[in-house]
Structures are given as structure tokens and as C-alpha cells.
Symmetry: D2
Subunit: 345 residues, 4 copies
């Protein structure tokens, strides 16, 4: 099924995820950009808030209401966590809703409540098609939950090892993120003067909200509970996540097995690229692109597998994944409007 | 014993470690700065190479020879790895030599050869006085090996847990470093255009040369071999390391025990500061200072201890430690010429 | 005339301009990417040097020779200054050659020799179609000189005022550039450790090689010699130039006249955008795009016109302009393969 | 007169200027740090807001009231513009008040009202002792207005040329500043995600509040009105200003005269350093220091003098100048507690 003139709306168009959605949708040959909505910024010119989106500079932001969003084929929600659910249930059933927020990512209601503090709204098909058995549920779907930025890359770097049973079900993920992952919220610790020249830890000790999502992904792959220790860092760049995953090798596992498992896992994937041996991922190679760069090594002395992945948190980590999921939902070729070319230097 | 007018020389004064030594020595009340030497830059004005060291701008760099260095009370060696040993053995025995390079850090000749590829030159007292039982060996010493930047912070963040037997002897260290740790070498991947907006992994899989040093430190504390998985990242800032250490808690260990062990371990240390609970280290707080900021958490769901530390790789990670060690060697108060105040924002 | 399957080669594919050319050409619907050449990097995988160009990762760089480049419809030269001329004269006459270097930019042989120190090779049509009377010479051209990055934005911000006779022929241009403008050369002052957290001046006092090019452009517009004082700065970012141009208003010139002259000058241009009043350019809005953002103000107290423009030095400042010029040369719509959407944040 | 145990208070201790004052005062041998005050942050631990000031981490911020500030020998005001005046008039006359805000910088009431919109509070001795005839008024003063950061460096780079009558009284100042100059205010355009990788213009066209201050300084030196066109840029670094000043040379002025004027002007100054010919200022050389680095060139083709200066906006541009002024006020040696050594790389 190939549609033209698919009308899409973006709710939350003044934020970083919303801006990235629009950057990608402007280059998408099958869509027509409809309503752009915001909350406190409703009524403003988009050009005043997102001056890089020149073709949309004169668009006026509308309020985020059911009325404004109705009448589109697709609505992307780029809203604060906890606000998508109420809105989504008022929108037409046949409309494709792609939620960039967390509301529908977790299957476990208790995990939701523990980490988000509110009642669980349910779960939608999870928009990481490169995980085994995930793509089919997205094809033709009308409700899709886009993964969190950290879980996207953290799950992908460990998925082949977990799925192939190469590592013990107890992993350590330490990941460095650019600041756009924290959004446009006005917080003192996100000021440029604080961020530049600075690396900080936050959400340490299993309290970051992306922890249960990584756990959910890896445990499903393993068929048993996987313990995840997740530690994020904030590093001085706007975009990009570099994630490292470390786990103890199961007895007898060789480096060759590891290499083969990773090569095989993503051989048919357009967006996930295992680098040639000896080359390690860097975030700049994937900035602005929907690609994930991966590499894996075996540390024999420590008996560990160490995998590293790079992703643009706003593109494959959020808005690119959202567009990829829309493509699957509507039957467009999966890569439509998406690039594997980064912006460097 | 308190001496005045201690004459110090710096070999390798045109590099980053050498420059930082001079920045600190200029503020040290007990020393007189003697010869400054370099290799390819010999003959140049220091002001052309280190314009921030205004009081020394008109000094001319001399060649790094025994003749030039002799006649000083203290010589700091800030030379490429593998070059200190040959020079050191020609210098007078009573001279205090503080080596910022790796040559004399490792006790294990085999580990040296595995990681550095040359014959082991021996080992000197290890200049990390905040590790248990290390300070005494530095007092009055005439030969001191300054620790590597990553091992300094990686060892300190895990030392209390290892020493108190709170964690299994199998740790994962992932650390993010600013680019000055790689020195002033002209490499394409260190160009500003490559580094800015970019985080990359390197030396993954146990191959980084600082791995055996961390292993040596933690194993000595544990009284048994500790397995160390070490993964470094390069992040877009000039100075600073943020290190994370993750390990499985031993059965029955409580969060209280962990907090107490960390508080007790550094209660008498001037340069190592455990932050109040809930506050996490950031590198900018320690830039230009000799302080280390630490925090630790217990992740009950994952049964892990996670410790985080921040250090300036050039100050406490190299040159500040060198000055601190000189103070111990010569009997000056340990904090002389050193600060615990960072430069922020 | 519309051609498909135009075969293009890029000479200098391992550098920043070459990499940006390839990034853009990969998205150009009318071209097929042929030979990629380099000098010292010939024989290497492109993926090792430009890992962001994933679709070309397995291409091998060939040496930059006439043999390798022949047989293409278009050759882009992204070579060091002074090396294009010798190569160009050996290539077929009917081949379209787009030179990103300086060799053929200046019409004045004496200015060339003064600033570049070698004999003048001649001048080619100057690839800044947005300057009055420049587009026609590029349509169907087979030899094109792409402007320098600073001259592109410096000329555009002052062109309307000069062409309309609103300012005295004596202008001050001060511009801040990201480091990629200096290329991938291994120089100590371009290391990340030096560049981050640092702004520096260079080429001050009329000695920067882009000075005569700005002078040439503005003088041609004025119909009389325009005096140009040009001062560049290096700022801590990879991409982008922000240029300011200041000049004394001619007697009686009003702010309204100024606004109208700027609005009119670029009303039909797709890539040059005068921002709404009160909004000032920033480089990030144009990163990765072929757009130029402009704004102008009248300072009545100082009797000055102040114009500001932002450009990506690698895109509209080099490789984007080169593609735009190829489009004009071959009769493709001028915007083919080019975007006005920047990558932000 | 030499005092020990001078008790100093800092009003506005939670901001950037306040933090820098404390960083410097901690290293000042003659002072004892008394009350630290804030407005909305009163009641908080300083360590939560300024974690780099380790020795003061447990200090509690008090409200900014006359009662809290009374009983100190010196009070530094690091408050928003327009708030110092009301507070100052309630403090004891014999107390030394050093105001880092703008309230008392301008002599011209009309200029004040034009740029700040409120009634003029008066003017105090202007704390830039390196300007001719300014030092004497600061010695023993009890009220001092610390200059703005841009005016400090912009005035110093042009002062020798203006004072010696070498240039026409019509200057163009374009300056790039790090973000800390904008303070800790929570504004979207100051977020790290916006600032990193970005250079922007603001306050263009003579509307920046530092314009009348530069005009005041240069006009006083010239003995006639000097026209100042001032254009600031925001560049992606936390600290530092690089300022360029361009002006037409008066007839017959030679490069030699210019060099001599600059050398002579600052020959006896400890903090203002004219670099050797051929070396240009960079901000990183002065970060954290009270030094100003200068250079000047003559552009014969354009008949212009171009001067460039680098300063740390928080140190010599604000807090360092404030301490220097306190030293003059109290009769301490002028450099007490201040450094000319920058923190690099």
C-alpha cells in the first residue's frame, strides 16, 4: 500500500523532538505537514523558536487539542511524559499515533508506577524494529510507542549477545548523552555555561527511568530476567549518545562466536551497522542520521564482552525512529525520508 | 624539615603535563623554577608554546639532557612513556625525581611488557597517598611514580568498597576523559573539528594501558586478584575525567555500610571529598584543582554498588599529584601550592 | 536540459570539503558518484576516514591523477590552494570542473601573487550566483571557481548596501569561524584541547587571503574601489561562520531604505534569507544547509549600518555552493540536492 | 596601610560573578570571608550551587539585607543591574562597597536612562586602574563601580591609540563572549543544547548596554566625543571575551608609532600584557586570571588600526577587577590574591 499526501501533525513542535520530527518530515516524500501544536508557545511563529526549519518559518503554532489534531492521517506526539495517554484516547481509532513519550513503552504496570509515579496507561507496539520479532507488530499498527533514546542504543548493543545466550544475564550499561536528551526545559544545570567543559553523572543507582525499559527489552530476548545496572552521564555536546555495555561471558564463549552473532544479527538491517573490526563508534558519525554504529570486543583477561554503540538521540533515538515506525505503519519502504549519513565534522 | 628555594626543573615543559606542572609550581611558595626542557621545541620561547604562563613567557626551552637537569633539587619528568627510565638512571641519586610517565608505575614486569612492549624498568613508590598504606612510602622518597590519570580516579572510587570487602572482586570501570589526556600529539582524531560535538570509545576490551594499573591498585587493596574491565571514552572537553565503577555487592551488604565505608575512607584526606548524598560529581567542579569529588550509590534492584568520581586529569590526575608527592618527599605540608577550588563555570 | 546519471568525481575526498561534497552528492538525485581520490590517503577505505558517509564506507580512495578523473562528467576539486591549476589544465575541456580551492577566484594577478605568493593561474566564473550579474555566467559553464567561505557570507551581508549606494566604500568585516574552515591539517593550534573553550584571532591586519576576494566582490558591486578591513576569529565549534559587516551610512540614508534594499536584493533567492526584524542570525540554524541567514540594523548614534550573516562554511561556504554551481552548469534546478534546513540543536 | 583579617561579604553569592569573587577571595591572604547572601537561593548550602568552592561548601546563603551585610569592612555587590543603588545607600559610609553591577558606571544621566530605562543613581570611581588617571581615584575609595566585561577589554585595546591621537574618533568594536557573561538566568537561548556548536549575534546596532560605557571611556581619553559601533557575539565557551577594535588611522601615522604607543601605555601595568609581535591573543591564555593579552596591527591597504584583546569576563572582566579595586581601596599591593596565569589547555 503506498499513499501520497499523507497528512501528518506534530504535537509538541516547539521542543527538540518536535523540531527533529519536522526536519525529517520536510524531507519525506510521502507526507504533507499539517498542524503544528504547542502549549505555552501556541500562537508564536515557528521561525522564532526553530529558526533552522526555514521552510516552516511562517507557520503559527496552534494549541494542542483534539480538534486541531483531528483530520490528520498521522499524529506524532512529542509531549512531556504522562500527557500522551489522555490525549491519545480522544483521538480517532483509525488515526496512526506515534508517541515519542514514555507513556506506552512499558508492559509492566508496576515498573511504570515505580519509575513514573502515576497509573499505567497500557502498552503499545514498541518501535524498535531491529529487535527480533518487533517489526511485524509495527506493520500496519495504528498506535506505536517510540523507544527512549538510551534504551534504543543500549538494547541494540547487547541484543545479539543476549539473544544468542553468550553472556550472563547481568549487564552494566554506562552511556554518555548530549544535552538535547534532557529537552528544552529551563534548568540551571542545562545552561551552556554549566554544560560546556563539563561531564556529570546523574540518575545513578538504578533510578533513571530508562532502566526498566532496557530491562524489559533484554529480558524478553533472554527469556529470563536480565539484571541491568544503568548509569547515564551528561557530556558537553548537543546531540548523540555513546553507550557501553559490559557483561560476563558464559563459559566457553569465544571471540569468534561473538563477532558472528553481531554480524548475523544486523546483516539485513539498513540502520544498524557493525563497524569493521578495530574501528569504534563515535557519535558524530551518526549525527542527524537514523544509523546506529556498533562494535563489540571480548576482553579475555576480564572475561567480559564489551559492546559500544553510537546513536543520535534525537534522530534514531526519537524522531527518526518515529518516522521509521510511521513508514512501517503505513506500508512505505522503511527507510523513506531517512538517511544513514551523518553530519561531520 | 622545611626547605626554601628548592630548585626544580621540568623536563617536557612544552606539553600539557609540563605546562600544568609550571602553572602549579608558579604558585608554590617553596620552590624556585629552574630549567625547563623540551625536545623538538628546545630553543623556543615558552611564551610561544604556553602563552597562559605569563610570568615565564620569556624563558627559553633547553634540551632535555642530564647536564641541564643536574643541579636541581627536584626534577619532574613529563616525558613520553618509555623515555624516563634511561634519563632517570643518569641523574644523581639524592635528587628527587618525580616521574609523570608510566615507566615505574607497574610492579609486574610481565604486565609492563604486555601493555608497553618493552623491558620493565622497575617500580618506584606509587604517588597516590590517599590509597591505604601509600603515604608513608612517599615521605622522604627520592624516586616517585605519579599514577596515570584514569587509575587515580578509578582506584579511588572503588578503594573503600574493595578494602572493606563490600563488593565482589570483579569490577567494571567506564570513564569519560577530556582530550588533554591524549597529550599534544598531532593526530587527526584529536583535531578540534573531530572532537567537538563528538563522543567516542577507544582502547576497548582491556587493551588500554591504564588497565593493569587499576588492577594492581585494587588487587593490592583486596588482598586477592581483582578483575577489572576498563572502557575509556573521549568526550568534548579539554580537561577532566568522570569515572564510574560498578560491581556486584557481596551478600548482605547494606547501603549504610557502603556510605560509612566511603565516609570513613577519606575522612582525613584533604583532596578527596565524598559529596553529600544526592549530589553527584561533575568534572567542572574540580577543573584546575587537586580535588577529587566522589559519590556512591547502591542499586538494590541490580544488586550493584555504583561509584562515581571526578578529577582533573592534568591536576590531581598528573601534575597536582606530582606536586603533592614532592611535598611529601621534601616534608612540606602536603597541600602546599595546591588548591581544592575548581574553576567554574 | 536535464541529465540523469551524471558521473561525478571528487578529488580530495578525504578532507572536510571532500567529505561534505560526498554527503551532499549522496542526496543528489541526478548524479552517480564515481572516483574518489586522495593524496597520502590513497588506498584507504573511505569508511576509515569519513565514517559518517556510511553508504560509501567500502569505497577505496584512488590517487589524484588525470587518468582516474577522466571519464567523469563533473570533477570537484577539493585540493590545497595552488594545486588545482596544474591538474585542471590537463583535464578535458568539455568536463565540468568545479574548483573549491582559491586558484581561479581572483581576477587581479597582482592580488593573487601578493596573497598566495605564486603566479596567477587565471580566473573562472565566480560561483556566488546570489551576487548581482553572477548567475548567468555560471549557467552552462565548464569551469567554476567556488568562493571562499568567509567571502561568501561577507560579500552577501554587504552586497545590498554597496549595490544600492547606501554606505561609504570603507567597510569593517569581523567574522567568527568554526575550525573546519582550517581543514584537517595537523597543526597544534587546531587540536581539540586548544580549541575548546577558546576564541582566538588570526590573520589580523589585512593579511588573510580572503581579504582580496571580499574586496573584489564589493568593489565590482560599487563600481569603485571599496576598502575592506577583514578580521577573522576562530571559535570553538566545528562548523559555521558568523560574519559582521560595519560601514558608515551615506548622508541621508534611512533605516527604511536599508531594510528595503536588503529585502529586495534577495527576494527571489532561495538560499539567502533575511530574517524578520528583531531576529538575529546564528550559525546553528544553517549547519548542514545551503542557507544563509541575514539581518541588518542601523545604528543611528554611530551613523553605521551593521549587517550580520550566518553560513555553514562547509555547505554554502564550500561544498553546497559547488553543488549549486554544478546544478547551474548542467541545467538542473538550482536547488537540486540542497537543503535550506539546518541541523539544530 | 596594611590590614589583616579584613572582613568581606559577597551579596549575590549564588551567581557567576559571586562565585568568581569567592574563588578569588579564598586565595586572598588578607581577607576573611564573612556573609554570603542571595535572594531566591537564601537558605541553601553554597555547595549545592557552587560545588567548585569546596572550602565553602557548608556555608548557608543568607538573605541580602542591610542587617546581614553590615559589620563587614568590604561588601561586594554582585546583583542584577538596578538593585545596587537602593542597597548601597543604606550601608555605612565608611564601608568599602565594590559594585559589580552597572548602577554607578555611567556619568551621564541621560545615557543611563536611555540604556537602562530608570533614573540615574550617580557615578562612583570607575574601577579600571589601567586607564590613564584612573588609579588615583581608586586608592582609598569607599565606593567603586567595577566596569562591564566588554568595556574593560574594549577600552583597553583602543586606549593607547585614542590617547595618543593615532586614530580617528570613530571606532568599530566587535567582540565574542562566552556565555557566563549572560549570567545564570534561565533563558532558552542560553541552554547548552542551543549554545554548543553555535555562534550568534545579539544587541546589534548600538543597543547593547555596554556601548555608552565604552563611549564614555574612549571619549574621556580623546578629549572629544568618540563614536563607537559595538557588536557583540555569543560563542560556545563558558568564559572569555575576545574583542577586536578597528579604526581609521590619522594621516601620517606609522606602524612604529602604533607599536610604541601600545608598548608605552602598559609598560608599568602588571595585568595588561602586549604580546610579542606576530602572536595574537586567545581567551584561553587568560581564563581564570586577571591578565589582559593585547596585540595591535596596522593594515596599510585599508588604512586601519586593528587591536585585539582577550580577557576572562568573570575575572579581570568582573570579579578580578573587583578584588584589584579592593586592594587599591584598602592599600594592599594591587596584585594581592590575583594571578596572571591562565588555565590552559
Amino acid at each position: 500500500m503506498r499513499m501520497t499526501g499523507t497528512r501528518v501533525a506534530v504535537a509538541g513542535a516547539s521542543g527538540y523532538a518536535g523540531g527533529e520530527l519536522l526536519r525529517l518530515l520536510l524531507a519525506h516524500p510521502e507526507v504533507e505537514i499539517g498542524a503544528l501544536t504547542a502549549n505555552s508557545n501556541a500562537g508564536e511563529r515557528l521561525g522564532a523558536l526553530q529558526p533552522h526549519l526555514l521552510p516552516l518559518a511562517d507557520r503559527i503554532l496552534e494549541p494542542t487539542t483534539v480538534e486541531v489534531l483531528s483530520g490528520h492521517d498521522v499524529v506524532f506526539l512529542a509531549l512531556p511524559h504522562g500527557t500522551s495517554a489522555a490525549l491519545a484516547e480522544q483521538l480517532p481509532e483509525q488515526m496512526v499515533i506515534v508517541d515519542c513519550g514514555a507513556d506506552f513503552r512499558l508492559k509492566d504496570a508496576e515498573a511504570w508506577t515505580t519509575f513514573y509515579g502515576t497509573e499505567h496507561a497500557g502498552s503499545w507496539p514498541y518501535g524498535l524494529p531491529e529487535l527480533p520479532d518487533h517489526r511485524a507488530a509495527l506493520q500496519g499498527a495504528t498506535r506505536i510507542a517510540v523507544p527512549g533514546c538510551y534504551p534504543t542504543v543500549s538494547s541494540l548493543i547487547l541484543a545479539p549477545a543476549v539473544a544468542a545466550g553468550l553472556i550472563e544475564p547481568d549487564v552494566v550499561v554506562v552511556a554518555a548523552s548530549g544535552t538535547s536528551g534532557a529537552g528544552k526545559a529551563l534548568k540551571a544545570n542545562l545552561l551552556g555555561s554549566e554544560v560546556m567543559g563539563n561531564t556529570s553523572a546523574y540518575g545513578v543507582g538504578g533510578v533513571h527511568r530508562h532502566t526498566p525499559e532496557i530491562t524489559q527489552n533484554l529480558s524478553a530476548l533472554a527469556g529470563e530476567p536480565v539484571t541491568v545496572s544503568f548509569t547515564p552521564m551528561l557530556v558537553p555536546m548537543s546531540r548523540g549518545i555513546l553507550a557501553t555495555g559490559t557483561a560476563t561471558l558464559k563459559p566457553g564463549v569465544t571471540a569468534d562466536q561473538v563477532q558472528q552473532a553481531y554480524a548475523a544479527a544486523f546483516a539485513d538491517e539498513q540502520f544498524v551497522h557493525v563497524l569493521p573490526q578495530g574501528q569504534w563508534p563515535q557519535t558524530k558519525s551518526v549525527v542527524g542520521s537514523n544509523a546506529v554504529h556498533l562494535q563489540v570486543a571480548v576482553d579475555e583477561a576480564a572475561n567480559k564482552l564489551v559492546a559500544v554503540g553510537a546513536v543520535d538521540n534525537l534522530t534514531k533515538g526519537t524522531a527518526g525512529a518515529a518516522v521509521q515506525c510511521m513508514n512501517l505503519a503505513l506500508g512505505f519502504p522503511e527507510q523513506t525520508g531517512l538517511s544513514t549519513i551523518g553530519l561531520a565534522p
